[in-house]
Amino acid sequence: MSGSPPSEWQYVAGAYTVVFVTVLLWIAIVAAKLQRLQRQLAELVEKARVRDG
């Protein structure tokens, strides 16, 4: 890797990558939360079934 400072397009690419990665990370967090909610819902359905016999 050379020691020269990044060129303008590298800064632009960096800025847009930060935005893209943040949105992706946010989607990953929401996906993880959805999985947790799905699991909790399945547990509650199971509990309701057991209660109803």
């Binding site: 632009v12 959805l34 509650l44």
Partner: protein, 226 residues
């Protein structure tokens, strides 16, 4: 539009608009004569900053609605809007910092009122979460959060106008009393990018809100079953 349809339509709109905005930024907008290629950061940096102001404003409006109606849904909506605002605020600071390094040669300048005031606004709303989660859930927490969100909204015009009130600055002023100081193609690109980021906010807001509502319903269901 029914809520079941609203979210997919919003998501499709924001994806389409983001794609269009990126295409315009890189293939349509001309390279700025003054700042060069790095000026292309402007097309997402400024809409993200304006969206974070919109998020905080929306959060304050919902907080006001909570104080008037005591509707718990308004409290949740205020919280989600501020949460999104902090996320967009962090992105504003990071993209702005990268642009500053490309244009001015520094990552940050403490002498710039606009930057410092935006940082103050961002930290103010970060502290909102410390306040909110230091109090047990209930009406006391919702009241405190709502009052705090309303106080914060005062900082928005201060932050927005700081650059115009400042006598000495290096932060560029693109919109002044004479209108946008850019070419028509640049302004069109900016408008599409602003619409894209606002649509992204609307989508993320609805998704997070839906998650919070499902969470609350599950908690209620668990209490009913135990």
């Amino acid at each position: 539009m029914t809520p079941r349809l609203k979210l997919p339509v919003l998501a499709a709109c924001s994806t389409g608009l983001l794609g269009l905005a990126l295409a315009l930024v890189f293939f349509y907008a001309p390279t700025d004569a003054d700042q060069g290629f790095s000026q292309r950061i402007f097309y997402f940096h400024v809409p993200i900053a304006l969206t974070s102001y919109a998020c905080f404003g929306w959060g304050a409006w919902k907080a006001l609605r909570y104080l008037r109606t005591r509707d718990e849904r308004a409290d949740t909506e205020s919280y989600v809007a501020i949460h999104q605002g902090v996320m967009f605020g962090a992105l504003t600071l990071v993209t702005g910092s990268i642009w500053a390094k490309a244009s001015w040669g520094v990552w940050w300048s403490w002498s710039e009122n606009q930057l410092v005031l935006f940082l103050v606004l961002f930290l103010f709303y970060c502290a909102y979460f410390m306040l909110r989660f230091s109090v047990e859930p209930g009406s006391a927490r919702a009241n405190m959060s709502a009052v705090y969100a309303l106080f914060g909204v005062v900082l928005i015009p201060v932050s927005f106008l700081a650059i115009r009130l400042s006598q000495k600055f290096i932060h560029p002023v693109v919109f002044n009393s004479h209108g946008p100081q850019m070419a028509g193609s640049q302004f069109l690109t900016f408008c599409v990018a602003l619409a894209a980021v606002l649509a992204l906010f609307a989508t993320l807001y609805q998704v997070e809100l839906a998650g919070k509502r499902i969470d609350a319903h599950l908690r209620e269901l668990r209490e009913l079953l135990t």
